[in-house]
């Protein structure tokens, strides 16, 4: 579904990704784990078009994303829940969801999608008229995921969804990822919460200082010492 080949990217003269290749197949949940500053967020930004790659190719179902205008990438079925959620804080929950369904293709199905999101997150339905910035961190994360789902994506990119949330909420969040997958959504998730994310995804890549250091089935990575090595830098 999504294939990255030798992708390089950076900020100005500061390179953040070197030669990253990875693949996400239809229906899979794939994790990218690694320490702070490894380039995980950069990887997500490159896929969703917030940052243009300086080399390599990114192909989504045959379309080269590097040659697609960044605001058109969501129309290809990629929805990105950015790091620290990035809701529109002084807009209501419902207006935030409306922005998620902004694309011309998503507009006719707005009411229907809204009902789906509210069913998934009854809490958001209760708070539909509340300003998004006034909600708790967990509720904001739900709203951010709901907003992404409004575009009816095929591939959901989750960037550090568990950051700053209470353990109970984090557990609910990973349950939700399982449910979304069961519903047929493909998920690419970036996390520092390694132990938990590896119980949700099928496969994972270990990213460190901008390079893929290891890859494999989640269970194998969990069992092997690869992860400890990656974090401790051995």
């Amino acid at each position: 579904m999504l294939t990255l080949s030798s992708v390089r990217a950076g900020y100005g003269s500061f390179p953040a990704l070197f030669d990253v290749s990875l693949e996400v197949r239809q229906g899979e949940a794939v994790g990218v784990i690694g320490p702070n500053g490894a380039g995980k967020t950069t990887l997500m930004r490159v896929v969703s078009g917030l940052l243009r790659p300086s080399g390599g190719t990114i192909v989504m179902e045959g379309v080269d994303l590097a040659r697609t205008a960044s605001h058109r990438i969501v129309e290809l079925g990629i929805a990105h829940v950015p790091e620290s959620r990035r809701l529109f804080p002084r807009m209501t929950v419902e207006d935030n969801l409306k922005m998620g369904g902004f694309t011309p293709a998503a507009r006719p199905g707005f009411r229907q999608r809204l009902a789906v999101v509210y069913e998934l997150f009854p809490r958001l339905a209760e708070r539909r008229e509340q300003l998004a910035g006034s909600m708790s961190g967990g509720e904001q994360q739900m709203c951010a995921i709901g907003r992404a789902l409004m575009s009816e994506p095929k591939l959901l990119l989750l960037d550090e969804p568990s950051a700053g949330l209470a353990p109970v909420i984090v557990e609910q969040l990973f349950e939700l990822v399982k449910r979304l997958r069961a519903g047929g959504l493909t998920v690419l998730i970036v996390e520092q919460n390694v132990q938990q994310v590896l119980r949700v995804v099928d496969r994972a890549y270990v990213l460190k200082t901008g390079r893929i250091r290891a890859a494999g089935a989640a269970a194998e990575l969990l069992a092997s010492g690869t992860i400890r090595d990656a974090y401790l830098g051995v």
Partner: protein, 289 residues
């Protein structure tokens, strides 16, 4: 005592009427700043051109006044788009001071161009609208009309911003511009629409102001600084803040004008502004960050 109260009420009412027009002026500038993050220093000069447009269409070419107003609003909206495409867009990545200087340059360019093209004589529509007497108070019909039209204009903008996808995107972009591509929003397109909207509001303001004031190349100086100060007082980019600040300013001017001269009203208003910059430098409606 009763007579004084009538004068006070009349001044308060006139303050409200002036406030409506000032609120309309500040809305246009606030929209541009909130969305594009640029101050159109030459905003009032767009209004000046709109006023000339009204003068030529109505007085010289004898167009019906409503048709003239419609043409003016559209024409100034187009000027807003041109200003964005020719001056702002190329400087979006530049330092804010460069953008400020560039629109400042446009201000003097438009003033000089208007002097060359139209001369420095004061011109007006030659309309004599009646003065109404309501419950013992004198209210000018042109002010009432300007107030009503400004209010309708603002309500329409409000409905556009809250009810449509494009309007929602305009509010969203003012809160987080970096992630707009994730929503599928082409920011450049939103900037163009906002520039047209800001220009259209300047055009509407021109149609209303030309009912009350003569037009000349430097007429923008009568509205530009006060509009900018209102926006700053209401916290630049905050639509509600600008609305409130416009009425605060207008009442100070009207009440100052009641007890002294009209000019004193402006002196008080600007003094109030300076004091407020010490007391609440972030503006009346500053948000907690």
């Amino acid at each position: 005592m009763a007579i004084v109260d009538i004068f006070l009420l009349e001044a308060l009412l006139n303050g409200v009427l002036l406030g409506g027009v000032l609120a309309l002026l500040s809305l246009g500038l606030n929209l541009i700043f909130g969305v594009i993050d640029v101050v159109w220093i030459c905003y009032a000069e767009l209004i000046m051109l709109g006023m000339y447009g009204m003068y030529f269409l109505y007085t010289v070419y004898h167009a019906p006044i409503v048709a003239a107003a419609a043409v003016c609003i559209v024409a100034v909206a187009v000027l807003g788009v041109l200003l964005h495409v020719l001056v702002i867009a190329p400087l979006l990545g530049a330092a804010p001071i460069n953008q400020l200087l560039a629109t400042g340059g446009v201000l003097f360019f438009l003033q000089s161009a208007a002097t060359v093209l139209f001369g420095i004589e004061f011109k007006n529509l030659g309309l004599r609208l009646p003065v109404l007497k309501v419950a013992g108070m004198f209210v000018s019909y042109s002010r009432l009309l300007a107030f009503a039209a400004a209010l309708i204009g603002m309500v329409l903008v409000y409905l556009f911003l809250t009810r449509t996808y494009t309007g929602t995107a305009i509010r969203a972009i003012a809160q987080d511009r970096q992630i707009m591509p994730l929503m599928g929003v082409d920011s450049r397109r939103i900037y163009l629409i906002t520039s047209a909207l800001g220009g259209g509001l300047a055009g509407l303001a021109a149609c209303l102001l030309v009912l009350q004031y003569d037009v000349h190349p430097f007429v923008g100086l009568s509205f530009g600084p006060i509009t900018f100060l209102i926006c700053v007082l209401g916290s630049l980019g905050n639509f509600v803040g600008g609305f409130v600040a416009a009425f605060v300013f207008a009442e100070i001017i009207a009440l100052g004008g009641l007890y002294l001269d009209l000019e004193w009203g402006y002196v008080f208003a600007f003094a109030f502004f300076i004091v407020m910059m010490f007391v609440r430098p972030e503006g009346l409606m500053a948000r907690r960050s």
